[in-house]
Amino acid sequence: MINGADTAWLLTSGALVLFMTPGLALFYGGMVRAKSALNMMMMSFSAMGVVTIIWVLYGYSLAFGKDHGGLIGDLSHLGLGNTLKSVVGAEGHQVPTLAFAMFQLTFAIVTVALLSGAIADRVKFSSWLFFVASWITLVYIPVSHWVFAPGGWILSHLGALDFAGGLVVEINSGASALALALVIGKRKGFKRDPMRPHNLPLVLLGAGILWFGWFGFNGGSALTSGALAATALINTQIAGAAAAITWVAVEKIRDGRATTLGVASGAIAGLVAITPACGFVNPLGAMVIGLISGSLSCWAVALKYRFNYDDSLDVVGVHGVSGLFGMLMIGLLATTTANEFGGDGVFMQGGTELLQRQTIASVVVALFSFFATLALAKFIEKTIGFRSSSDDESTGLDQVYHAETAYDFSSISIR
């Protein structure tokens, strides 16, 4: 028996989460230099195309088909043809399988799109498309099975908590982004030339769309439309807001000015940190997570200069670090008063067992994502080539790969 209210919210959430990817395109597109802005946005938009095809053909089935050893699904839902009338979910809260498949598809899209931020301005577009298809297959699908699918080892055996994708989306993308940045190498002129964001209003618009879409991301992950979705929703708002404030507070104290890029980045860091925790903590717990994650990621984005890797748009510093932080904070702040199916953290009279499980899950996913992506990226580099030629990078990828220019700066050039 399909639950109409739950289904309506899940369908809405799928649309909300899909909207995050164009939002990400604006967020990232505004942050790069004008000469490769379209390429940056194209990496997000093309992910919507490639991942959708994979998800329908075999992706959903491998991720959410019948479990094999806690590691991977099966091929029973190839093409989604046999899911047209089926349902998923607990008794009383059943939703159409296709609503759930659509919702999960939008997660896969935005996660791989996130990775493009680590390799801005310097990879071949065709290689990116190949990477998207192979990364979704080899890295995303297994991790999402472990965490989200009944029978997956993290969900069903280890019992670590991840409400909306702290492992699947945030740690997964952060660790993979680090591997990608290491294999691809630095942009020409990294640390020497100013590579300031070419359009901060676009960045702010993108951040706003991401924030908006995140309500579907986190609220929808309740898979029901009741109190749990409301808890996730308000916790999402609290953490994003708190982190936006702390990021700019750190900037004001450290650099002398509160920046618009800072307020946008802070909001995203808070939203990332609350993603795994939003359905397991109470509102004040969400506030603590937000307040700390804003300053933590503000500090973490400087690591790339110290360790000399060009994670261009700070996927590691924002998604990796705040995602890991949010996962671990569940071990401290989770409370069964927020979610009876969750757990109690160290500060909620729950002991250290949950924190241990959160740590194990985070470390294993981070290591798997990092090394699998490292191997995949090196394979692509050795075979079809991954990095753009030096000349193409200097010219700007918009012109080279897309035969377009983002802005008509001059009234002289075209008449």
Binding site: P194, R196, P197, E251, R254, D255, G256, R257, T259, L261, G262, S265, C298, V301, A302, Y305, D314
Partner: protein
């Protein structure tokens, strides 16, 4: 004939333009320019990383005038563009060999 070239702060363009019009100057060419002098650049901060922006936006004004009018025009620009702070700009005067008005073919003084 003289070519008077002035580099000024973008925020002073309207003042300089009105002052020149008030002084009877019949035409000018305005170009957006970038550069640095004693003012050097400024620092911008993105996610904690400092970028020195050394080429800062300026406005370049060019006016062609008769020899005897040139010094008054320089004075007018200099007064109107002055904010008494670093980065106010520079004005220089060069000699022009010939001028032609495209529409009529008039030359020299008549073309100004």
């Amino acid at each position: 004939m003289k070519l008077i070239t002035a580099i000024i702060k973008p925020s002073k363009l309207d003042d300089v333009k009105s002052a020149l019009q008030g002084a009877g100057v019949a035409g000018m060419t305005v170009t957006e320019a970038s550069g640095f002098g004693r003012q050097k650049g400024h620092t911008e901060i993105y996610r904690g990383a400092e970028y020195v922006v050394d080429l800062i936006p300026k406005i370049k004004i060019e006016v062609i005038a008769d020899d005897e009018a040139a010094s008054d025009i320089v004075e007018t620009i200099s007064t109107a563009a002055n904010t008494n702070s670093i980065g106010d700009g520079k004005i220089w005067v060069t000699t022009v060999d010939s001028v032609v008005r495209v529409r009529t073919g008039e030359k020299g003084h008549d073309a100004i």
